[in-house]
């Protein structure tokens, strides 16, 4: 599965084998377009259906029916005739639709007529005091271990944050016999009222029943503290305790593992590095690409599907993948008939606005203060950022000159949103006005020796480096 691409040109290259990427791949390949699906993981599924074809957790009940619905979509992609390469890292994409991809220690460049970016979401940074201590992880990381290896916590464990994934993870850990000592729910109380206008759509969406059942399942086994307004991790060299404030009352719990989660945001790095225009999304509080109804971006030939187009969940991702694929087919096979998916899209997005408002993270958990670290790569605190603003740093790109934020190996994934919002507030501007880091390839680091071994001339470059 880890051989280099067979060709140097494809009609369609899909990047990411989650719900959107798998759905898009199946459709374009079925339509007879030469399709290449590149994916970083060892198997299909992305994050939500991670390890769908390899998980040791075989019982349907434990991971839930939504998880197993991915198996069929993954199989359809496998049977579609598309070339699928796993453990492939796309490290460059430019406006000429040229893709730099690393497979098995060698890199190749390929060209596509259409590119569908389906690189999904990442967890929103959760910068609280002590979040860099060993023993503090994201809920997503814990879920990765659970899905791919069946690993669950057995030490004193606290889950903190908000959003559907937090509850899903709690339920999954408990079903697999893992340990959770306390769930700290940081959903701001005001959000329940703000979300009311969207409640009807949500009540009639599939999310409602599932969500409620899952929360009930967790509450039956673990003490849940709602309305948490402050959160800090502490310890000498590793996590030893978690302190929180709820209802004005402060409490400290001993803990060896703290799992943090406050929602997911689009993974923008590849699209932004390619030059795709993004705008600040006031509802989801993150950057989302500027797209038409089919997911086409500001760069001709590049479409974005799935959560990378704005958080919509797995069902919406599948429909978005199909819509982007349909548009690629229409462009490359004008005689083909394309089914209108707008009704399906509306159904899949139903209830999303409610979730977006309800789970909008509180300001104090997005914009830390004082000594709390913002940029983990360079160990830059919130105070450092504000001090730089005071002496003339006007935006994230200028801040690089003062503090090197965003220039480490994470390329801003763990500090970018925090930096934008902190600087916007300090300068009395909107995040849109403040902007984001200019992102650059390689989107994921590549070895110098691998870059050095790219074939020399143009012709040779098209033939692929192997191993």
């Amino acid at each position: 599965m880890s051989a280099a691409p067979k060709h140097d040109r494809y009609d369609v290259v899909v990047i990411g084998a989650g719900p959107a990427g798998l759905a898009a791949t199946t459709m374009t390949a079925d339509a007879g377009l030469s399709t290449l699906l590149l994916d970083e993981n060892a198997g299909p599924g992305g994050q939500v259906w991670r390890a769908i074809s390899s998980t040791p957790v075989k019982s349907e009940v434990l991971l839930g029916a939504d998880y197993w619905s991915g198996a069929e979509i993954a199989k359809a992609a496998r049977d579609s005739g598309a070339e699928i390469i796993h453990r492939a890292t796309v490290w460059s994409l430019d406006r000429n639709l040229e893709i730099g991809v690393s497979v098995g220690g060698g890199s190749a460049f390929i060209k596509a007529k259409r590119v569908i970016i389906a690189t999904g979401a990442q967890e929103r940074p959760f910068p609280i005091p002590g979040w860099t201590l060993p023993g503090v992880m994201t809920a997503g990381a814990a879920q990765t271990m659970l899905k791919s290896s069946g690993l669950v916590p057995d030490c004193p464990t606290v889950l903190a944050g908000q959003g559907p994934l937090l509850w899903l993870l709690a339920a999954q850990i408990l079903r697999l016999g893992g340990r959770i000592d306390r769930v700290l729910d940081t959903t701001p109380r005001a959000n329940y009222i703000a979300a009311l206008p969207h409640a009807l759509a949500f009540l009639t969406s599939p999310y409602f029943g599932k969500g409620l059942a899952m929360m009930r399942e967790v509450r039956a086994k673990v003490r849940v503290i709602s309305g948490v307004t402050e959160l800090a991790a502490a310890g000498d060299g590793k996590l030893e305790s978690v302190t929180y404030v709820a209802g004005g009352k402060r409490e400290t719990l001993p803990a060896e593992l703290l799992l943090l989660h406050q929602g997911v945001v689009p993974n923008v790095n590849l699209a932004m590095a390619a030059g795709v225009e993004h705008r600040w999304n006031e509802l989801q509080l993150c950057w989302t690409p500027v797209l038409d109804a089919f997911g086409n971006s500001s760069i001709p030939g590049i479409a974005i599907a799935g959560d990378g187009a704005g958080i919509g969940g797995a069902q919406a991702a599948v429909v978005r993948g199909r819509r982007a694929a349909g548009d690629a087919i229409k462009e490359l096979r004008p005689q083909a008939e394309i089914i209108d998916l707008s009704a399906e899209m509306a159904r899949a997005e139903r209830g999303r606005a409610f979730l977006d408002v309800l789970f909008q993270p509180a300001k104090q958990f997005r914009m830390p203060q004082g000594d709390t670290i913002v940029c983990r790569c360079e160990e830059i605190t919130a105070k450092d950022v504000l001090d730089s603003v005071a002496i003339g740093a006007t935006g994230p790109n200028q801040l690089k000159a003062y503090r090197r934020t965003g220039m480490g190996p994470c390329q801003g994934r763990l500090c970018g949103l925090t930096v934008t919002e902190l600087m916007a507030e300090a300068r009395g501007k909107s995040p849109q006005e403040i902007g984001y880091y200019r992102l650059r390839a390689p989107v994921k680091p590549i070895m110098l020796s691998e870059l050095a071994s790219l074939p020399k001339d143009d012709e040779a470059t098209k033939a692929v480096v192997r191993g």
Binding site: N397, Y402, P445
Partner: protein, 377 residues
């Protein structure tokens, strides 16, 4: 309303900012106009080399002048700009290259310049222990070094503003014209007027010069750079090659910057560049050949800054050949960063006193009189 000041500087790179600062020091009040923000392009994203080494002879006096300022730069801008002086070394990879180095140093010595010094293989390996055994020697310029470009440009900008310079960032200078003996420039809804206009607009300067009747053969280029994740400290000086396109420097935090002049495709109107990974691959190959220790390093980022290159690879610097009160300071052809501090000082002397002790004659725009401009000018 027209606001009159002492000088209008177009372009907020290291050169525009340095000239603004030095004009302030001379008691003038300049306005600096930058269409993006100071240091957005080449001045903020270059390799940061502070190099007298291997320069065209016409630039050397300006470079030496600048070096003196770099060595006390904290006194000027209240920030050390990350300047470190570990020398710059030009590596000869063959005996023939070393012969050329020998001839060059002898020629410089004959002209009274002593900053370049020929070194043999032993001294080369003392200075750069990790270099491949096959390299027979090279040239060192011991006072040279490197600084942090964005930090430097920002520091000049900040100090100029503190001393009274008016800054306009994020708005382009338009409608440059001379009326009733004063230069006028529109900046959004504002108009500034001044007896002096400095064209320090980098890749955009050729257009201004052409509009004012002084077309020059200039093209827009975007030299590419890439940086690695931190590796264990193994090199102090900046290294450049005699025969191949490579410059190489390790920062105190362990990251290694790899440059050397391979070009990306610039899109000047979009403020964008498209990288050429095949050429970056060549740089990576050269590094891997010369420094075995680098083979397992990872590349974390590559980029390119947009700037102007003259046909003869040396800048246009000094008064206009056509207009009174117009001064050019552009076309530094991928090696203008080190010159910035000195060029600002000399430019201020030219503006305030009408002359300077620093020899800059070879850089005048006069040299392009009667030549045809290039297509991209």
């Amino acid at each position: 309303m027209i606001r009159q000041e002492d000088a209008i500087i177009v372009g907020g790179g290291i050169h525009g900012c340095s000239t603004a600062l030095h004009l302030c020091l001379a008691g003038l009040k300049p306005v600096l106009i930058e269409k993006d923000y100071a240091g957005r392009h080449a001045s903020g994203v270059n390799a940061g080399g502070v190099r007298q080494l291997a320069r065209d002879v016409a630039e050397i006096p300006l470079s030496i002048r600048s070096m003196g300022i770099w060595e006390t730069i904290g006194d000027l801008v209240d920030d050390d700009c990350g300047f470190e002086s570990h020398g710059q070394v030009l590596v000869a990879e063959t005996d023939a290259e070393l012969d050329a180095c020998r001839a060059r140093v002898a020629d410089l010595n004959a002209q009274g310049f002593n900053h370049e010094e020929l070194i043999d293989g032993t001294e080369l390996r003392r200075l750069v222990p990790a270099v491949a055994e096959s390299c027979p020697g090279g040239v060192v310029s011991r006072r040279d070094g490197a600084a942090q470009p964005a930090r430097t440009t920002t520091a000049f900008r900040r100090k100029a503003e503190q001393l009274g310079a008016i800054l306009r960032e994020g708005v382009a200078a338009t409608n440059v014209r001379k009326e009733q003996g004063l230069w006028h420039v529109d900046v959004g809804a504002e108009t500034f007027a001044a007896p002096v206009l400095v064209n320090a607009a980098g890749a955009w300067a050729g257009r201004i010069a052409a509009q004012l009747g002084e077309p020059v053969p200039v093209e827009t280029i975007a030299p590419m750079l890439m940086i690695t994740s931190p590796v264990a400290h193994f090199i102090d000086p900046v290294v450049i090659l005699r025969g191949r396109k490579l410059s190489f420097k390790q920062f105190p935090n362990g990251t290694v910057l790899i440059g050397g002049g391979h070009l990306a495709t610039p899109d000047q109107d979009r403020n964008e560049t498209v990288l050429d990974w095949r050429k970056l691959s060549e740089s990576a190959r050269t590094v891997a050949e010369l420094f075995e220790v680098m083979r397992s390093a990872t590349i974390t980022r590559a980029w390119a800054g947009i700037e102007a290159r003259m046909r003869d690879d040396i800048p246009v610097f000094g008064p206009s050949a056509l207009h009174e009160g117009l001064y050019h300071q552009f076309g530094f052809s991928a090696h203008g960063f080190q010159l910035g501090p000195g060029a600002g000082a000399v430019m201020a002397e030219l503006i305030v006193h009408g002359g300077t002790q620093t020899r800059i004659g070879g850089l005048s725009i006069e040299r392009f009189r009667n030549t045809t401009p290039s297509a991209t000018a």
